[in-house]
Symmetry: none
Subunit: 190 residues, 4 copies
DNA sequence: GATGAATGAGGCTTCATTCAT
DNA sequence: GATGAATGAAGCCTCATTCAT
């Protein structure tokens, strides 16, 4: 029996990629990622066929991670605004707790090296959240529009909020609350 | 592209860079940009010391271009919401009329190759707009926060709106209007 | 390919190497050969110290195989031309029956990774055949030259003949016969 | 005006490739070829898009070179055997005068990296020679077969002859003559 | 001033080989 | 003994930048 492929190494590479890409962009070299992971240059390619596959898997990983952060503890039975606030808070917390993940995710979201197929798979599993979004839309001002739009609006407003939070950490909580209220005003029924 | 008149080479390079980067990302080679500009590979470096300078100048150029689009015809005396709507509309129009500029701007905005100094210079000159933003803040729900935050909120909401417009061109105008109302609800006094 | 019985691994590797090299050239990776043999990547190196040794052993194996095909049933007592024809036919049959062996042999014959020592060992054991060659030389037009030359002439003429046969299968037998007559005319007494 | 692309450099690369491939096979690295040519690694790719293109151009070059050697001074009006002998001699001389060209040509002829299209282009321009081959076929023993076959036969017999000449330089001329007689006996009318 | 030929550093990827299991 | 995970050297190729013309 050969040495088993340690799941650790795969994770180490993905984590190293997150950090390295966060600070150097998608142009970060595979060599630098491997080095950051404490792994030989060639080893990276045992786990990922090529750089594009690494990028796609990283997207999937981060999306999963984000989904977990947002889904766990979701108060499915609570009032609409409470649920919305949970979505907002859990997303912002995820982003602020791991700025590298957030930055890297931002780059991947914009890159055309992430396949459409992977993107769509990434949408799955946000069930409670999607349902909530749908309700916000249905009962809100934007009822004529696809929930996707509201969802994206939330993400981009949260992004802006996080940037402000990162910039002025002392006012972080104020931004977080204000950002949510802005979103809620934008989307919910008058 | 034909060989541009001598004095226009700089402009030709910037324009070619806009197009080329829009479709190939910031990794677009200087050679490909020069070629698209109808200019020799080496000539590019007579106008820009290196690629980073080109990128920074391009940022400045696009920001100027955007400023011009948003500033000209600005109804400085109109009611607040009218002015806000003008800001929104002119920004969205700028982005939808020249998708290459918008895409390239998006890449530059996120890249750390654009110096902070240049970014800040780019803020200048949006006078009427800044004043309007200030008023929106002062008179609105977000009065405790810096106008910069509201400004960024507008930009990111408009960005999301433009993405939706580009995705479903038939509903474009509906998105544009809905996006603005969302922003206005988010920022203005109840 | 299923996992071969333990004792057969060596053979499985050699056979897999024949097939793989025939279609991918000597650059075929050891990993691909191992895989084709249904054997672990590392196992290959338990049977062959390194790739060069594999190549040399493969040369030896194919040469042995070819010798067997040409030697068995050799009509040692028949007339000279009959024996010559048997040499020709058995060589051509060997090559046409197993194109992979022929192609791989062609690559190995030309490669400098096969040691001169191995090449020479490969000559041995063609006893009846060598004797026949000697007679062709002695009694023929080329009597002043070493039998090795005539032997090589036969091989290369047969090679050319096989290429033509492979190219136009319908005329295969015509080529086979014509090729031999050409050789016989070239080498035998007027 | 930029520095003109010196035809010399292209030639230097092709020549270096000839030498390097002759001794290291088609696996010779582009770096080693560039170095042998006294040229930067990257420069090679200004003259040839990739290694395959280099190989194809090299094939063309060598074929042209060979054609020139065989065509110039061709005694178009002479007797058939005289013309055949000229073909034989000029081909053998070409091969013996430049063993590197011969070895490299041999590798290229066998490689599937040389495109069929290039191969066919290479056939062109051997007019006097093709005509002569046709006559040898028409008037000879192999009249039922395509001239291509006789042509290939000549080449392979000459190849074998050259190998012998190279092996025993002192008997070189004897081999050259004997080889031709063998060919003539094989192909011409009794 | 304009050009594009020249280049080496660096990027991605493959591969023969080693060795822990 | 068998395996395949691990690896770094080496291969092909790209590219920003320099500089001869």
């Amino acid at each position: 029996m050969a040495r088993p492929k340690t799941g650790d190494k795969r994770s180490a590479i993905l984590q190293a990629a997150t950090v390295t890409i966060a600070s150097n962009g998608l142009g970060a070299s595979t060599a630098s990622i491997a080095k950051a992971a404490g792994v030989g240059e060639g080893s990276l390619f045992r786990y990922f066929a090529d750089k594009d596959e690494l990028l796609n898997e990283l997207y999937r990983e981060l999306k999963n991670n984000m989904r977990h952060a947002m889904t766990s503890g979701f108060p499915a039975e609570a009032a609409l605004k409470v649920r919305a606030r949970h979505i907002w808070d859990s997303y912002v917390s995820w982003g602020m707790d791991s700025p590298d993940k957030r930055k890297t995710m931002a780059q991947l979201s914009v890159s055309d090296r992430v396949l459409e197929r992977i993107r769509q798979e990434g949408q799955a599993g946000f069930d409670g959240i999607s349902a909530t979004m749908q309700q916000i839309v249905d009962r809100g001002k934007l009822c004529a529009l696809p929930p996707r739009f509201v969802n994206d609006l939330l993400l981009s407003m949260a992004e802006t909020t996080m940037a402000a939070m990162a910039n002025e950490p002392r006012k972080a909580e104020r931004y977080r609350a204000a950002g949510f209220e802005a979103f809620w005003s934008a989307a919910a029924k008058k």
